[in-house]
Each structure stands twice: as structure tokens, then as C-alpha cells.
């Protein structure tokens, strides 16, 4: 036990004294959150919008003209009722709809309240917010011009997520980022740390001591696990505060699944280190064999549906793919273990497999 603790202490010291690496590992993930968050903002112009105007009059005509003239909007149609809205949202032919009441002219004249419903396709909450902002601005100005001192305008804005259930959401990048961060920390840093001992020759000293290889690995891995959790928390905090990314499910379950994925990545890192004789090779294995599939085949950037069949088949063996399903489920859909137990089981199975393979190959000697 003393040996294990002594080992953990040593590894922590290494980590803390390598200021450059530490800075990168801690600062890069939140930085990536910001980059992704702002970069994903799609260009919000020519928003296809429908005006539902059951009783057209002079005032509503004015609003119609303004919408048609605005560069931001593309007024597709003026409908008499909300009947077709559902189908149009679902098909994606419209992103927003303004629903006016009757007697608009009269209400304006009398300064009565004017309830207007603003429906926005909210499956992309970033742009959803922006679109709402634009529409609200146009309506606000129209109202103020018509009734300079009035305050009866009531805009009821709501996002209708259920119109786009396949979730082409920018929030999805956060779970992907978490997976990416954990893969780097757990797999790559573990592999590098173990092969560094081999390269500098200190592995010789370790092997000639009574400490078992499993204790060496466990000791090496512990500080990175702690660091990985810290990093994940930083990512979640950044995503929450800057972009209001939701966290609908149980935080405990989320952290638990993160813990599981950390183990999976660690086991992978160990396997890599047993195959790589030098740090450089370990890094290349980690990048090519782990990072690339995690980025490209897990559904992080490209949706799984858009992959050709054979790539989709390969993605089944990429642990990050399952982890992403789990995390997205928890964060965005608020799913619980009851729904996600199959994916969790798959991750557990993968972890066990890698651990067995890795520990078989852990050397007790050189050469």
C-alpha cells in the first residue's frame, strides 16, 4: 500500500511540475467550449417565417410589409390559421411563425392588450434565441410606431423542440467535447506517462523493485483521473454559463458515466502503452487509433446517420460513440439509467476487455 501511495505522490509531483502540459490540459477544454460554441452559430439570415393573420387589416398589412422588406426574414406566406404550421415546421420549410389575433387595428387604436404568439424552431437553441430576438425586434418596432406610448404588446414566445426531434443541436458538441477531453487525459496521457518511464530508463528501477506492474499502472493513472474530472467540470461549467447548455438529467448519473468512460479510456491507454516502445509512438497510436475515431466516428461532429454503412459498423467499436449517446441522453433528454442501461453495459464490457488485454501484456521484465 505504501508503495502505491508513494507512487501516486510521485506521479502527482510530475504532473504539477510540468507546467506547460498542465496548462494545456486544464485550459484547452474550456477554450474549446468557447470556440465550438461561437463557431457553431449559423448565419441567421433569411429566416423562413409564416405570418398567421386570421383578420387582415391595415395594421397587419403594415407588419406584413415590414417582414417582407426585412433582410433577416423570408416571408413565405400569410396563412389564415395555424392549421398547417405543424406540418411546415416538421418538414423544416419554416423556422418561425408569428400568430396574430383578430381586431389588431382596433386593439391598437384603443391601447388594448395585443397578444402575439411567436413560434420558433428551437432545436438549435443558439440560433433559436437569435431568431426570437430578431422577430421580437421587428414586432416591437411596428407596435411602437403604431402606438407610441402604448404598452399592451404581449409577445408570447415559445420554442417548439418537438418539431425537430432528431436534435441537430449545437448543444450536442458539449458531450462530444467531454468525451474528447477524457480520451486525451485518460488514454493519451496514461500511454505517454508509461512509455516515458521506459524511455528514460526509470522503468528498469521500477521493475527491479517488489512493486507489481498493476500497482505501477494504478499509481500512474490516479492523478490523471483526478485531473480529468476537474477538466470535465470546467467544461460543463463553461458550457452552462456561457451558452446555457441544459443539464436535464441527474448530475450524479452524469458524473458516474464519466467515471466509467474514464476507466474505459484508461484501459485503452494501458493497452497502447504496452505496444509502444517510445513516447512518440505512444502519441501516434493515441492520435491515430483513438482521437481520430473519437472525433469522426462517434457522432461528435458528423451525425452517425450521415456515415456510410461500413463506417457506421466500425463506429460500433468506438467507445466514444456509446459514451456520447449516454451523455447526450442525460444532458439533453434528461434520460436516466433505465433508458441507458444497454449503452452503459456495452461500455462496461469494453472496459473489462481492454483491462484484461492490457494487464496480460504488462511487462515484468525488459525485452
Amino acid at each position: 500500500m505504501k508503495a502505491f501511495l508513494g507512487f501516486v505522490r510521485k506521479e502527482t509531483l510530475h504532473l504539477l511540475r510540468d507546467r506547460q502540459t498542465l496548462a494545456i490540459l486544464l485550459l484547452l477544454p474550456p477554450l474549446q467550449v468557447l470556440i465550438f460554441g461561437f463557431a457553431v452559430r449559423t448565419d441567421v439570415r433569411k429566416i423562413p417565417i409564416v405570418l398567421v393573420d386570421p383578420a387582415p387589416d391595415v395594421a397587419t398589412l403594415e407588419l406584413r410589409d415590414r417582414l417582407a422588406a426585412s433582410e433577416r426574414f423570408r416571408l413565405l406566406a400569410v396563412a389564415p390559421s395555424t392549421q398547417v404550421l405543424d406540418a411546415q415546421f416538421r418538414s423544416g420549410s419554416i423556422r418561425q411563425a408569428l400568430v396574430l389575433p383578430r381586431d389588431v387595428e382596433r386593439r391598437l387604436g384603443r391601447g388594448d392588450s395585443l397578444p402575439i404568439q411567436l413560434l420558433t424552431d428551437g432545436s438549435d437553441p443558439n440560433t433559436g434565441g437569435i431568431m426570437q430576438g430578431y422577430a421580437t425586434a421587428v414586432v416591437q418596432r411596428w407596435y411602437t410606431d403604431a402606438v407610441p406610448s402604448g404598452n399592451g404588446l404581449r409577445i408570447d414566445a415559445s420554442s417548439r423542440l418537438r418539431y425537430n426531434p432528431t436534435l441537430e443541436s449545437s448543444h450536442l458538441f458539449v458531450p462530444g467535447l467531454v468525451a474528447f477531453v477524457l480520451t486525451i487525459m485518460s488514454a493519451m496521457m496514461t500511454a505517454i506517462s508509461i512509455t516515458r518511464e521506459k524511455e528514460t530508463g526509470t522503468m528498469e528501477m521500477l521493475l527491479v523493485s517488489p512493486i507489481r506492474p498493476s500497482a505501477i499502472v494504478a499509481g500512474k493513472v490516479t492523478p490523471y483521473v483526478v485531473l480529468a474530472f476537474v477538466s470535465v467540470l470546467l467544461v460543463l461549467i463553461a458550457a452552462r454559463t456561457v451558452f446555457q447548455v441544459p443539464q436535464r438529467g441527474s448530475l450524479a448519473l452524469l458524473l458516474g458515466e464519466c467515471g466509467l468512460y474514464i476507466l474505459t479510456a484508461l484501459a485503452l491507454g494501458i493497452v497502447i502503452s504496452t505496444q509502444a516502445p517510445t513516447q512518440r509512438t505512444a502519441m501516434i497510436f493515441a492520435l491515430a487509433g483513438l482521437m481520430m475515431p473519437t472525433m469522426l466516428l462517434s457522432g461528435f461532429i458528423f451525425p452517425l446517420d450521415s456515415l456510410p454503412v461500413w463506417l457506421r459498423a466500425i463506429s460500433n467499436v468506438v467507445p466514444a460513440r456509446w459514451f456520447l449517446l449516454i451523455v447526450r441522453g442525460i444532458m439533453i433528454k434528461g434520460a436516466g439509467l433505465a433508458t441507458l442501461w444497454q449503452e452503459t453495459l456495452i461500455l462496461v464490457g469494453m472496459t473489462a476487455f481492454f483491462l484484461i488485454v492490457g494487464s496480460r501484456k504488462l511487462a515484468i521484465r525488459l525485452g
Binding site: K2, R9, K10, D18, M205, R365
Partner: protein
């Protein structure tokens, strides 16, 4: 567990690809002995040491350390032996004290428990105890590595080229430390490419290209030098060297510091007679101011002799 020899090997063989790094190496180290393995880089010393400290498996042959088999009983052995590998194998970004503490914990002990054992070395290291190991001078690094090898109070010590790349004075200090350890009964097996360090060992094996050339007490090796050996001083070295090598009975002529060592081919002539012959030859070659004297052979003379006897690869 009782055992006769601290280390015992029989016909050790180890190959790397086509190269025979170790070729039928058999030796014995007695308890409490300071044993030297002398040989240049590539002679197989490191391979031998790695097998003895259970880091490598031999391809053939057997080895026992402290009576235990290196292949079967390695976990047992790893708690009992101390090892200092050829490269500086400590952590450069940890301090002296942290390195020591770490290695102590590896063996489930503390630095405090090892105080007595490492006392003489710690005396020299203590002023630097909070300095990063990477910032130490070469001589200090070696001392730290020795300390870490001793911190768990091993029953035998293996030091692979502990003084390589270190200046002559630090080397001397290091060997003084080894002498003190040996006085306390610790068997020590040391490898070194420096021939002059052989004289500080109880017994030595000269090693070249995977084979043991000769094993004996250092003094004996010199005494057993099989041909007349003379030291030739004075005059201009290159000229003298050339002339001596042209002497018909010359077996080998090598520079040795400020003199040349001449070995005669004949085993039946006395060194004094050879000296007289050489003097006459040198005179007739017109080389003046030369002095010639028979000398006792040192380890280096012996090594070079045996090197040449073994056909090179």
C-alpha cells in the same frame, strides 16, 4: 536461506538477433566480495547485469543470486537486491529527497530506517536535498543513484557502470564509498570500463564481446602476464612507437601515458635481456635519450593482451 556464493552463473547465453551479447559466461561472487566486471562498451556487461537483477531472461544457462534462481524466484530477489543501472535512472524533476522517499516507499520502507546504511553518502548529499535531481552535477547524480539503490538495505548491490562520464576525483570518492560498504559485509558487483578501477576490487573478470577473458584477483592478473613487459620512456613518441613496432620480436607496443609499453613475443627470454636488446636496437636507430625498464603488468596491459588473443568478430 544458506548459500555458498552470493552470485553464481553457469554458461549464460543471451542473444539479440544475430549478436551473442553473452557467450557462455560462468562466474562466482563470494559473500562480502567487491567484484569487478571490467570491459568496454558493448562487451556484454549490461546484459549480464540485467539478467542477474532479473530484468532479462537468459537464452541458455543458469544464474543464482543469494542462492535463488533468477528466473524462478525473481519476486523474492527483487526485495533483496539493490541495482543502479547504467544510465541515470532517477527522476530529474523530483528533488533529491523526493527521489529517495519514492524509492523507499517502493520497497515499503522509509528513509529514516535506512539512515545508518546510507550515512556516509547522505553526508555529501544532504546539502542538496531539496535540489531537483536533474540539476545535480554528474558526480552528485551518481551518489544519489547509489543512495536510492541502498535505501531498502539490500543484501547485494549491482552497479552497472556507476562512474561513467564522471571525473577522476569523483570516481575516486565513489570507490571510497564502495569500500566502506564492502567493509560492512555487503557483496557488491560493479561493472566499469575504467581499467584503473579494477585494482580496487577483490576480484575481477575481464569481459570482451560477450566472453570472459580472465577472472582473478587484480594483482594475480598482472602477475600472470605471459610475456616480458617493458616501459620505454623519452624521445618523440610517434617515432619511438614506429621504431619499436618494427623490432622483430615485438608482439605489441602501446602508448601508456608518458611511456610506451612494449611486450615481447618470446616467452623464454628474461625481461632484463630484452631490455638490453631493445636498448641496443634503439641506439642503432639513432634515437637518443631513451630509458627502458622491465615493469609489472597492470590490468590494462592484461586486458589488451587477452583482447588480441581472442579473435575479434
Amino acid at each position: 536461506m544458506t548459500y555458498e556464493h552470493a552470485v553464481e552463473t553457469e554458461g549464460l547465453v543471451r542473444r539479440f538477433g544475430d549478436d551473442a551479447a553473452l557467450d557462455q559466461v560462468s562466474l562466482q561472487v563470494e559473500p562480502g566480495e567487491l567484484y569487478g566486471v571490467i570491459g568496454p562498451d558493448g562487451s556484454g556487461k549490461t546484459t549480464l547485469f540485467r539478467i542477474l537483477v532479473t530484468l532479462l531472461l537468459p537464452d541458455a544457462g543458469a544464474a543464482r543470486v543469494l542462492g535463488r534462481d533468477v528466473v524462478r524466484d525473481f519476486w523474492d530477489l527483487r526485495t533483496r537486491l539493490g541495482y543502479m543501472p547504467g544510465r541515470f535512472s532517477l527522476y530529474p524533476d523530483l528533488s533529491v529527497a523526493e527521489n529517495l522517499g519514492f524509492f523507499a516507499s517502493l520497497f515499503d520502507t522509509t528513509v529514516a530506517e535506512a539512515r545508518d546504511t546510507i550515512a556516509p553518502i547522505w553526508l555529501q548529499l544532504e546539502p542538496f536535498s531539496s535540489r531537483r535531481a536533474g540539476a545535480l552535477s554528474g558526480g552528485m547524480k551518481q551518489k544519489l543513484a547509489l543512495c536510492c539503490a541502498l535505501v531498502h538495505r539490500p543484501e547485494i548491490l549491482f552497479l552497472d557502470e556507476p562512474t561513467t562520464g564522471v571525473d577522476a576525483v569523483s570516481r575516486k570518492e565513489f570507490w571510497d564509498l564502495l569500500g566502506r560498504l564492502k567493509d560492512e559485509g555487503l557483496p557488491i558487483v560493479v561493472s566499469t570500463p575504467y581499467m584503473d578501477e579494477a585494482s580496487r576490487c577483490d576480484r575481477v573478470s575481464l569481459m570482451q564481446q560477450g566472453k570472459l577473458l580472465v577472472t582473478d584477483r587484480p594483482g594475480e592478473i598482472g602477475r600472470r602476464y605471459p610475456r616480458p613487459l617493458l616501459a620505454v620512456r623519452g624521445g618523440q613518441i610517434l617515432g619511438l612507437l614506429g621504431a619499436l613496432r618494427r623490432f622483430p620480436h615485438a608482439a605489441a607496443v602501446w602508448p601508456f601515458g608518458d611511456s610506451l609499453h612494449y611486450t615481447d613475443r618470446r616467452s623464454d627470454v628474461s625481461p632484463e635481456a630484452v631490455a638490453r636488446e631493445l636498448m641496443a636496437y634503439v641506439d642503432s636507430a639513432g634515437l637518443a635519450g631513451v630509458s627502458i625498464q622491465p615493469i609489472a603488468a597492470g590490468i590494462e596491459d592484461a586486458f589488451m593482451w587477452y583482447m588480441v588473443q581472442e579473435p575479434a568478430a
